[in-house]
């Protein structure tokens, strides 16, 4: 009896403690372990370390509907919460564009900024017959069923869109024929590709860094404007003739109903994180490329992105 009482009390007390001892809350709209969780924990930790906030930021994991649950919670229940930030990425805008958040739209929250981007990559196993992106594209053009992609997102997700964007630019219109399997994360996609079950992997740079170092895979292309510092021998898709830039930015949004002062405060804090040595180190360690857009111009970037993905998703038949 004592034990149960004590533990119950302990559980309640500790939960209570968490909610009062923290100044602000960061919602990671997914289970621990993914990119949003990383964003919340890393940005939250650095904000506290560099004293941009007075007390540690509490991370709440609110998994559900690929971020939709957190989105609708913020829009409907916490619209004026000034001490709330939510992790976001390209997946957020992709799903908003595809109307996967139950009718919610991108203008129902305020996007504060992005302070890093995970470049998209197309990779194959080290012993693969493909040594360049055009070889891969040619093989698919000749026989769409001969190449299967593995990626960490579900069908229609950002990882799926990347190879489709490349093929579309290459003039291949029958994109629904392209084989894609969505597995549990980028690392899983790589093991399936190295194991020979799929021929190519589509994902983010951060997911493949370890495998690249160990020599298990070959990266055919990185989907950025320029080559990534530190990975200078990997060609971009652009220089191989496929004009596709697809990066998975990491950033934050806050509720719509807060004042401009609050928005500016968070933007300022985020900018401080972006400028800190800790964040620069974290980016290097995790394969992120610099990508800083904070404040007002980020919102317009997001709007442009949503429009672009909406068009693309219509083209490939993911949405009507």
């Amino acid at each position: 009896m004592k034990l149960i009482k004590k533990t119950a009390l302990g559980a309640v007390l500790s939960l209570g403690m968490f909610s009062t001892a923290y100044a602000a809350e960061c919602i990671a709209p997914a289970n621990p372990g993914g990119g949003w969780d990383f964003t919340c924990r890393q940005i939250g930790k650095i904000m506290y370390d560099i004293k941009a906030v007075d007390s540690p930021i509490q991370v709440t994991n609110m998994a559900g509907a690929g971020g939709g649950l957190a989105y609708s919670t913020v829009v409907n229940e916490r619209n004026t919460d000034e001490d709330l930030i939510i992790a976001a990425s390209s997946a957020t805008t992709t799903r908003l564009a595809q109307n996967a958040y139950g009718g919610a739209t991108a203008d129902q929250v305020r996007f504060v900024g992005a302070i890093g981007a995970d470049p998209g990559v197309i990779a194959v196993g080290a012993d693969s017959e493909f040594t360049s992106l055009s070889q891969l594209v040619d093989a698919i053009k000749a026989n769409p069923g001969s190449v299967a992609f593995a990626g960490g997102s579900a069908v229609g997700g950002f990882d799926h869109l990347k190879p489709l964007m490349i093929l579309q630019r290459a003039g291949f219109t029958d994109i629904t024929k392209v084989k894609y399997i969505g597995v549990d994360g980028g690392a899983d996609a790589i093991t399936q590709t190295i194991g020979g079950f799929t021929q190519a992997m589509t994902g983010d740079m951060s997911e493949i860094v370890g495998f690249l170092k160990s020599g298990d895979i070959r990266v055919l292309a990185v989907l950025t404007e320029d080559r990534i510092p530190g990975f200078d021998d990997i060609p971009t898709a652009k220089e191989q003739g496929f004009d596709v830039v697809a990066v998975n930015w990491r950033g934050l949004y806050i509720p719509k109903g807060v004042s401009d002062e609050v928005f500016d405060t968070w933007a300022d804090r985020l900018a401080k994180v972006a400028a800190s040595d800790e964040w620069k180190q974290a980016m290097v360690d995790n394969g992120l490329a610099p990508f800083t857009k904070v404040g007002g111009d980020f919102q317009s970037y997001v709007d442009g992105l949503v429009a672009e993905i909406q068009q693309l998703s219509k083209d490939i038949g993911v949405i009507q």
């Binding site: 533990t7 559980a11 500790s14 923290y22 930790k45 709440t60 559900g64 894609y180 549990d184 370890g210």
Partner: protein, 501 residues
């Protein structure tokens, strides 16, 4: 030799008075978290991550604390399984089958000590396996594609028939119910929501923790209310706490066998501890001379799943450290912790950051020994739970269940769902349909379906693809064998019974 120097490095990092203290605190907290229904190792670790930052711990100390909590929770899950028939977390599910009947027979303390020792054996050997085999085993993940995974999950379902209930059909009904529930949510292969009725809360499907707590804990409360507390299943008899050496000796080979099975299940990304404990239990029952005593309080039925799930916890670290692929929910959280500490697991981690890897391994060994030492005397405290009158205990359990489930996603919807599962559990028990296969259906159904669908995408719908590799064929044979064997065995076993009748 290199392994020993590495290990020495690990211990030099992990074995300081401060980290030892962290290990003890972590083990204690973990045990409690594991024992509370709804709070499993993964949310236990997740809840405690912020504390490591607040305390300003360095990478090694943070890892020691978190792995202690992780292993502590793996140990702790068995406590409520045995004492209350409510699994503390999903890997402890199978321990209810024989642990609770043992407790009802007055052998609660024996069951707790035995399961503690089994947990130790499983976890300890798995850690040794991790040390010796990690680089080698990492390759195993490359051998398992969609077809192989599908056959593996099929194997798990095919052995379901012989479990929990004497009635195979009822087990099958329960498993189908679970599989049906698993279909709810976003379909990974088409990206379309199924059976969600536009409800965002159902997009990711039903969380199996919600189902477990509902089917076990909440259903228990309904039964309690119905009987006005008189005829409750709670309130088992209590005897003196002694160490059951004979029982431990008798279960020795069971533990070793289960450790191997569990470790293997853990190494495969996506299989994890639940499958490990399940397969260990079913394998034990399959080789036992007295399978009819399982489910009625056979000590080996406690030893097998506990050794299995703790070994799987160790095994799950192999793909996490070597590939960065988490093998279970908790390793996913540990992965998050590592990444927050700017350590990216992957094939080069062992070479790049030996102090982290070997410090982690050393802390696993330390946590294990601390837990073994801590758990035997703690049993005395735990069994006092049994002396609590049910009218105090059950409201307490209910409260903890609500808090635990709310902490999962912070939404009231999960609470409603949990109560719904409680009602379902109540009726299932009235109909004498076992609830364990329901959980397994929810737990493994999604992955099984995803594997099948992926296999079909890759093969253009050619079913022969499912039998295209030696591993897949081997698993299919085992699955069919596991499904058919009990039917024949039952005839063999029934005969002598008929004579004695």
């Amino acid at each position: 030799m290199e392994t020993f120097t590495n290990l020495a490095l690990g211990f030099s990092v992990a074995l300081t008075p401060f980290t030892l203290m962290l290990a003890i605190i972590g083990c204690f907290l973990g045990t409690i978290i594991g024992a509370l229904p709804g709070l499993g190792p993964s949310n236990g670790v997740a809840i405690l991550i912020p504390i490591t930052f607040t305390l300003g711990l360095d990478a090694t100390s943070a890892l020691v604390l978190m792995t202690s909590v992780y292993y502590g929770a793996m140990y702790g899950g068995r406590i409520s399984s045995i004492l209350l028939n409510i699994p503390g977390d999903e890997p402890a599910l199978m321990t209810t089958l024989d642990g609770y009947p043992m407790a009802k027979q007055g052998k609660a303390a024996d069951a707790l000590v035995l399961s503690g020792v089994s947990s130790f054996v499983g976890a300890f050997l798995a850690t040794i396996g991790l040390i010796i085999l990690a680089p080698l085993l990492a390759r195993v993940a490359y051998l398992f594609g969609p077809a192989e995974y599908f056959a593996l999950y099929l194997l798990a379902f095919c052995t379901l028939g012989g479990m929990a209930s004497n009635n195979q059909a009822k087990s099958a009904i329960a498993a189908c119910l679970g599989l049906g529930i698993a279909m709810i949510g976003l379909d990974n292969t088409s990206g379309m929501p199924r059976f969600t009725y536009g409800n965002l809360h159902l997009m990711d499907g039903v969380d199996f923790l919600v189902a477990i707590v509902g089917l076990f804990a909440i259903a228990e409360v309904f039964f309690f209310i119905e009987s006005h507390g008189k005829n409750t299943a709670l309130g088992v008899r209590l005897e003196r706490v002694t160490i059951p050496f004979k029982m431990i000796r008798n279960s020795f080979w069971t533990m070793i066998r289960s450790t191997f099975i569990g470790f293997f299940a853990g190494v495969l990304p996506g299989a994890g501890a639940s499958l490990g404990s399940f397969m260990a239990y079913m394998a034990q029952k399959a080789v036992a001379k007295d399978p009819e005593t399982y489910g009625k309080g056979n000590p080996r039925g406690v030893a097998a799943p506990e050794a299995g799930n703790n070994a799987a916890a160790g095994g799950a670290l192999v793909p996490m450290l070597t590939l960065g692929v988490p093998g279970s929910g908790t390793t996913a959280v540990l992965l998050a912790l590592l990444m927050t500490l700017n350590i990216t697991p992957g094939p080069t981690l062992f070479a790049d950051r030996p102090e982290v890897v070997w410090g982690l391994i050393a802390s696993l060994l330390i946590a294990n020994i601390v837990l073994l030492i801590m758990n035997v005397p703690l049993v005395k405290i735990f069994v006092y739970v049994l002396q609590v009158p049910p009218w105090v205990l059950l409201p307490g359990v209910t409260m903890i269940s609500f808090v635990g489930i709310y902490s999962l996603s912070g939404s009231y919807f999960d609470l409603l769902l949990m109560v719904g599962f409680g009602v379902l559990g109540y009726f299932l028990r009235k109909l004498d349909i076992p609830t364990v296969p329901v959980i397994l259906g929810i737990l493994l159904g999604n992955q099984m379906e995803d594997s099948l669908r992926r296999a079909m995408v890759l093969s253009d719908g050619d079913w022969a693809f499912l039998f295209s590799t030696p591993i897949a064929i081997g698993l299919w044979i085992a699955a069919i064998g596991g499904f058919v064997a009990p039917m024949f065995l039952r005839k063999v076993l029934k005969k002598p019974q008929a004579i004695t009748d």
